[in-house]
Symmetry: C2
Subunit: 155 residues, 2 copies
């Protein structure tokens, strides 16, 4: 069924503290970013690492004006179907033009950042190395888009 596209495609940004130092993680990130290009604009912004307070402050500033999803161990755990429903809701909401996922440094986020979050998401109950968390998040965004578009998931 054809669907009218009433608004421009969503702009997705993932903002992380520190560039990935693991070579394989960098390649995994680029792999999923490339797969995501066909579904809209997705980009990653790496911020310089500082203290936890500085990191949270920088993440806040860099995500001003975006729907703010903070990745946090205390966040909500959703399965793929439920996450897809949330993505659908954002894409239908004309007030949301940009979604930013915020990934902290090794010491997580300040309470101030958590208070400014529109949502707190956890990817796993496990503590994940944050470069690996980036790969998991991107793989999930890719999986959600293939489901939404009824396209095969390319392994």
């Amino acid at each position: 069924m054809a669907r009218l596209r009433l608004s421009p495609p969503m702009h997705w940004t993932i903002i992380a503290i520190g560039k990935p130092s693991l070579n394989w993680a960098r390649h995994g990130i680029v792999d999923y970013l490339n797969r995501l290009t066909r579904y809209g604009k997705t980009e990653i912004e790496y911020l310089r690492a500082g203290t936890t307070a500085q990191n949270s402050e920088r993440l806040l500033r860099a995500s001003a004006g975006s729907r703010r999803i903070v990745l946090d161990e205390r966040g909500v755990l959703r399965d793929t179907a439920a996450a897809r429903e949330v993505v659908d809701r954002w894409e239908m909401d004309p007030g949301i033009k940009r979604v930013a996922f915020l990934i902290g440094g090794a010491d997580g986020h300040t309470d101030a950042l958590r208070r400014e979050a529109d949502e707190l998401w956890a990817l796993s109950p496990f503590t994940l190395q944050h470069e690996l968390a980036l790969v998991v998040l991107l793989e999930q965004l890719y999986r959600i888009q293939t489901i939404k578009h009824g396209e095969p998931y390319h392994r």
Copy 2:
């Protein structure tokens, strides 16, 4: 506090269906396998992919005699601290010499395999590409060992 080691170190095996085809995932797997060598014997065995029934049958056969942990979306979600407690319990149990984590193919496992599992674990409520699941599992086993040994986590 020094602790008497009364039994030989645990033998860990991860048994997966199909060799990883994503180059970066292969590198991630090797990275964590190398980090794990200092904590005992950890190895990965890849089995030839077939039908779901064949895959589950092969996983069962390859894990005979091991404590069987089946990775499954319907499994228990544990945080890192809780997973570490389970690992501690296994390592203290003289009846457990080998632990095998079983990772299925794209279509998961048969009920027959689930019934033969000692435990069903989920790594995330998200459906994860199974090569990525391998990386997440290995990273978590590495993280648990660094915590147990009071060693720094090397990023």
